[in-house]
Amino acid sequence: MPGLFATLDLGARSLQTQQQGVEIAGQNLANASNTAYSRQRLVIQASTPLQTSIGSVGTGANAVAITQLRDTLLDQQIQGETSVTGFLQAQQTALQYAEAGAGEQLQGTGTSGDVGSTGGLASDLSSLFSSFQDLSTAPSSIASRQAVISQAQQLTTQFNQVDQRLTSINSQLNQSVQAGVESANQLLSDIAGLNHQIAGAEAGAGAANDLRDLRQQKVEALAQLVNVQFSTDSNGEANLSLGGQLLVSGGTVQDTLQTYDAGGGQLLVRTAGAGTSLTLTGGSIAGTIDARDGALQSLHDGLNTLATQLISQVNNAYRSGYDLKGNTGADFFTGTNASDIGVNAALVHDPSLLQASGVAGAAGNNRVVLALAQMANTAQAGLGNQTFSQSYNGTITGLGTALASVNTQLDNQQSVETMLQTQRSSVSGVSIDEEMTNLVMFQRAFQASAHVVSIVDQMLGIVVTLGQ
């Protein structure tokens, strides 16, 4: 028989156990809005029974552990999908910047027959060739010449502005890569620190649940940036690796990330210590790099090629022409690509210098300006046998296609991620009703245990006064 003192001890331990239960319920309720929190449960086990002559007698219950309700598989899935979402979101952002920078959109009032202007290079290209056509009907007209020069200036200014915007976006994306790497390194340090704290806290007994929650949150934040692989080794230590390179092992940061110039100012990522170049396949840093070096580079290259061909072809035809004063041999466009294409400054000041005629001294001859006008429908070998407009339209809608594809992928991806988050929430999320029920349960059990203590105390009082 355990005795009154043993029963008193049983009651006291029970009070502690129920109190712990109340504390855990309180902890869960306090973190009900914390999306990174996994609900905890007190594991109560019956104490070792006492063997007596009449059989095994229970000695109460003890709280043996506080467990997290967490699905590791879901965590891994979410970590992976977070990397994919980060990748697509970064791509979408970069491509949206480029779409805005290109300035090509359909404007219109929707009235019947309204073709709608686009306000970008497409309409400026058309306008230039239209002005050449106009001049071909009156090659000596100063007004028509001024219109050609004005349209050409409009076009070259638009080229310069779009090029400047794309260059600026490229620079911003490089800064974004740099910032992403710095954030990733900070997170690596944080995770290593948490690994160390968890190891220390779990060295005695029990799991450091809150620290594990925080670590998982950091890992997912890191996964948003780069597609890290999270694993635990045989010692239970958490390791992080990226592209086969070990970055964090237990409480130690083995290596960090670093940006480097791959050429032309384009930043890529490598390990700082080993200097190993990393081919990132997930996360926002990879998404930014992919958009920068993919669709944005294609757009920029396409515009530069277009500008270069325009300068070359127009000048080749133009040089053989004669102006109203009999001069020949000058260029119409200056510069070499989209960044510096311009109109010959001499023309801006004196339209009579525009070399429209094919014969010296024949102001009514329009051979050269007609040839320039006909370029609008001439397939250019340097543009893959497309006309100038076809080449531009193809380049710009390539950007649209890339962005539309990313939008669709991101919508689908966000649906997947939402589903996984909902599933995780159903496993790990706090339900107020559940916790309130548990709270009431532990409260009543505490009351009951206190009653036991009170009764035993009365009994002890009786026993003590027995001999008096």
Binding site: S126, Q133, T137, M436
Partner: protein, 313 residues
Amino acid sequence: MRIAFNTFPDSVKSQLATLIAQQNRLQNQVATGKRISQLDDDPAAMRQVLDLQTQDSQIAQYRKNIASLQTQATSSYNAMSGLQTISARAGEIATRADGTRSPQELSNYATEINQLIQQGVQLMNSTGQSGHLFGGTQTSQPPFVATTDADGNVTGVTYQGNESVPTAEIAAGAPVAVQVPGANTTGSGPAGLITDSRSGADFFNHLIALQKHLRAGDTASISSSDTPALKKDEDNITSQLADNSLVQSHLSAADSLASTQSLSVKKAVSQESDADLAQTLTQLSATQTAYLAALQSGAKLLSQSQSLLNYIT
């Protein structure tokens, strides 16, 4: 499935965000009348629209070219009609200048011919928006210069233009010339209006010769030489007038065709890019209804959130 505390608010937030995005997109379509406005709305349709806009821009310019050429052709026609009148009068004088006329009458005819030459030169130096009409591509100076003697009689008319004429496109790969050179003695290219080696026309020189024969009273030369020569000139002018009329008809037909093409292109653009307003408004109405319903139900549930807390005393 177990529903946690955050599940419902997260779900409401997500649904409202989706509905707001849909509303924004549909409202934009209604306001602009365009189904597509950005590159990523429908890239394939956007490419079609850009190509069609390029085509429409070209058609519009061709129509402007046609209008400009029509103006030039009309100006040329008016000048050539005046020249035809001069030619007819000169032919009439040549016919009347026979042996029955007195020296005074012949002298009067000579004076009139002199005036007709000067009128002709003035007509042939007419200008349009692109400079002189009958100088070929030498449009910056008068194509014909008359030289006179001490008595004011025209003794020679020199052509300062050339035999080339500019062409302008009225459609892709369809160049048209409306101008006529004042003279062409090369034997190839466009026929000259005043002088043309293929038809034998040499109007001003023939008029000068007629004037000379009238002053000399040489009615035999007038009959044998000047009259048939003037007939060639008249035929040449008539032929040029007929060509001009044909060109104007051609321009008119081309403009009509371009107008039809432009309408087709606009229709194609409309089909690709315009929003079906009835359908879009219906979708917008449905989305707004769903949004309000989501707001109402979400607000009701969130504000009334009941839990055991409300029932535990």
